[in-house]
């Protein structure tokens, strides 16, 4: 693991942005830092870039102390949320900036800088745009210029701060796959900050989920999705329904129904299930009773709102027509296909 983050804390006055955080990032890895706003992900990224210092803790890169290096010595290619392109420089000048400001003895010749700039323009599919100014580009193009500028310094790691945050949904999706291909081509260790779980799951080798300045879980997207470590992670990764339950003798008791639950352990739990993983049965079928209080057709799926006591649950039915008798006001039985349980009180 070339990048080792140890026990990092960051305090701003009274508020603590990061709590004793540990994280390791592998060589050539693409790691997503995923969390809601205020979870500390950008703070962590800026600490790695050298733009802020942590209050306590250590970071090492390839065995050397990273924190003792100033931001300009770290060669961390940073892509800023709003790109931070130099507005008075052309695209080519923006990309070549990191090479032109090197100390004289390391500075490539003007022709070499031009060659490298052209190469990067090709890499980010912006050939012919070198003479333009940032204000003449679309959002997606600006994003790619920022990417090329960060790559120009042959960074030891790439730090991307919500790089697609300012783009519309369609461009976001296009750039997402482009970015992954780019990473596979260049192989630079990349840390990617986002609050969009779909983006993180799609792109990253591993995802670290942050909440309140702490890491809730780190792992491959599939593993995290399949076995979330905390209620927060489950909730954050997609729409979720929550019910109180009791585990006894390998069974989960939820309301008036029992479901098999492999594994040991017993006691009160919070049981979560996803809206699209629910079977709807007639009143004499399997599952717990609930009343349908709303039916909303939403394109391919139908959204049902069901109430049990004071709990309202959302069910997404995507398997064709609704079963007979499922209408507003009907009593049905709901049988989630899969539960994720956490001990009560977590």
């Amino acid at each position: 693991m070339p990048l080792i983050i140890k026990n990092i804390s960051k305090t701003y006055g009274q508020s603590q942005a990061l709590h004793n955080l540990d994280l390791e990032v592998g060589d050539r890895e693409f790691l997503a830092l995923l969390g809601p706003s205020g979870s500390g992900k950008t703070t962590l990224l800026r600490i790695l870039a050298g733009l802020i210092s942590p209050t306590t803790g250590d970071v090492s890169f390839d065995g050397a102390d990273l924190l003792s290096l100033s931001a300009r010595e770290r060669r961390a290619g940073m892509v800023f949320q709003h790109y931070a392109l130099f507005r008075h420089m052309t695209v080519a000048a923006n990309i070549g900036f990191g090479l032109r400001v090197r100390p004289r003895r390391d500075r490539p010749s003007a022709e070499e800088i031009k060659r490298r700039t052209d190469e990067l323009l090709r890499l980010v599919q912006l050939e012919g745009y070198g003479a333009r100014y940032p204000s003449q580009l679309s959002g997606g193009q600006r994003q790619r210029v920022a990417q090329a500028r960060a790559l120009a310094i042959e960074p030891r790691m790439l730090l991307l701060d919500e790089p697609f945050g300012a783009l519309d949904a369609k461009v976001r999706r296009e750039l997402r796959y482009w970015l992954r291909r780019l990473h596979d081509e260049t192989g630079v260790t990349t840390i990617f900050v986002t609050h969009d779980q779909e983006e993180a799951m799609d792109l990253a080798d591993r995802v670290a989920i942050l909440n309140g300045g702490k890491i809730e879980q780190v792992g491959a997207p599939n593993d995290i999705y399949a076995s979330p470590a905390t209620p927060f992670v489950f909730d954050f990764l997609g729409a979720a329904n929550e019910a109180r339950g009791l585990v006894r003798d390998g069974e989960l008791h939820v309301y008036d129904a029992r479901f098999p639950l492999p594994g040991d352990g017993s006691g009160e739990v919070k049981a979560f299930f996803r809206p699209h993983e629910v079977e709807i049965n007639p009143a004499d079928g399997r599952g717990f009773m609930a009343e349908v209080v709303g039916v909303i057709a939403r394109g391919p799926a139908t959204r049902l709102e069901c109430r049990r006591g004071d709990q309202v649950m959302e069910i997404d039915w995507a398997r064709g027509r609704l079963p007979d008798g499922v209408t507003r006001g009907a009593q049905v039985r709901l049988a989630p296909e899969r539960f994720t349980v956490f001990p009560a009180g977590t």
Partner: protein
């Protein structure tokens, strides 16, 4: 806390851009040398006279008359500019007419024209034998060498402040507000008084207080037109100069301190008033 002790203290700033100490250090030292230390002299020197001495200086009839003239004429000038500045800003923002840009540029002339030049030009205009002075004399009005002359000069120097404070706010004002009022049946006066004026009131107050503050301290454009008769048309800044010419430094400083303190009190009162007027929920 023990953690903080064991790990080496790092630079404390939230941002690690360079030049913090250099720029802040230079700023603070320069500001101290050019502004703070000299002003400290102004604050401390009067007390050479003792508290009673300062009181005697400040409450002498001549000083009181000068302060009254400076602050009174400034208040009248600010009030005139409040109305006229509002009208001109309104015209500039809401109307298209040939020469609009020229009119816009002219507003700043009192900023750009050296005060001595403004002073002699206003005097030439309003003197009893000047073009406007002659005309006013027919109505028995004496403009130059009277308190009215002081008001005219102070109106001149304060005018741009009001226009330039109100103009950007008026430009940003959501025209939807007025349109909504229109659809609700408000006539144009109601729209102006009930919708537009409250929205620009903070900017207007800011502009008027800036104009007032500038007028209180104004010297160059006033001394030519005022006539400078003690007790009648002598402004406070001129009285400072007179005291200096008499080598009465402490007395001059006392008058200066009185001017500054009065301005400061009025500024505080305006701020307090503005806070009172800012009704909750009205936004900024």
């Amino acid at each position: 806390m023990s953690l903080a002790v064991t790990s080496a203290p790092r630079r404390r700033n939230a941002r690690l851009l360079p030049g913090f100490q250099l720029s802040l250090g230079f700023t603070v030292i320069y500001l101290s040398l050019i502004v703070l230390i000299p002003l400290t002299a102004l604050i401390l020197r009067p007390w050479e006279l003792g508290v009673a001495g300062v009181w005697d200086v400040v409450t002498s009839p001549r000083v009181l008359a000068a302060l009254k003239l400076s602050f009174g004429a400034s208040a009248i000038a600010a009030a005139i500019n409040a109305v006229m500045g509002l009208i001109v800003a309104w015209v500039l923002v809401r109307m298209q007419f040939p020469g609009r840009r020229l009119l816009d540029a002219l507003i700043d002339l009192p900023f750009a024209l050296p005060t001595a030049v403004a002073g002699i030009a206003l005097t030439a205009l309003y003197a009893p034998n000047g073009p406007i002075g002659l005309w006013l004399a027919e109505f028995g009005i004496r403009a130059a060498y009277s308190p009215l002359g002081v008001v005219i000069a102070l109106t001149f120097v304060g005018f741009p402040f009001v226009v330039r404070a109100v103009q950007p706010v008026l430009e940003d004002l959501d025209s939807g507000l007025e349109e909504a009022a229109f659809t609700l049946g408000a006539n144009s006066w109601q729209r102006t008084w009930m919708v537009v004026l409250p929205a620009i009131r903070p900017a207007l107050i800011t502009g008027v207080s800036l104009a007032f503050a500038r007028a209180v301290g104004e010297y160059g454009s006033v001394i030519f037109i005022a006539g400078n008769l003690p007790l009648r048309t002598e402004i406070a800044p001129l009285l400072i100069v007179v005291r200096l010419e008499e080598y009465d430094y402490a007395g001059a400083a006392a008058v200066g301190l009185a001017m500054l303190s009065l301005s400061f009190l009025i500024l505080l009162a305006v701020n307090g008033f503005q806070r009172l007027m800012a009704t909750p929920g009205a936004g900024r």
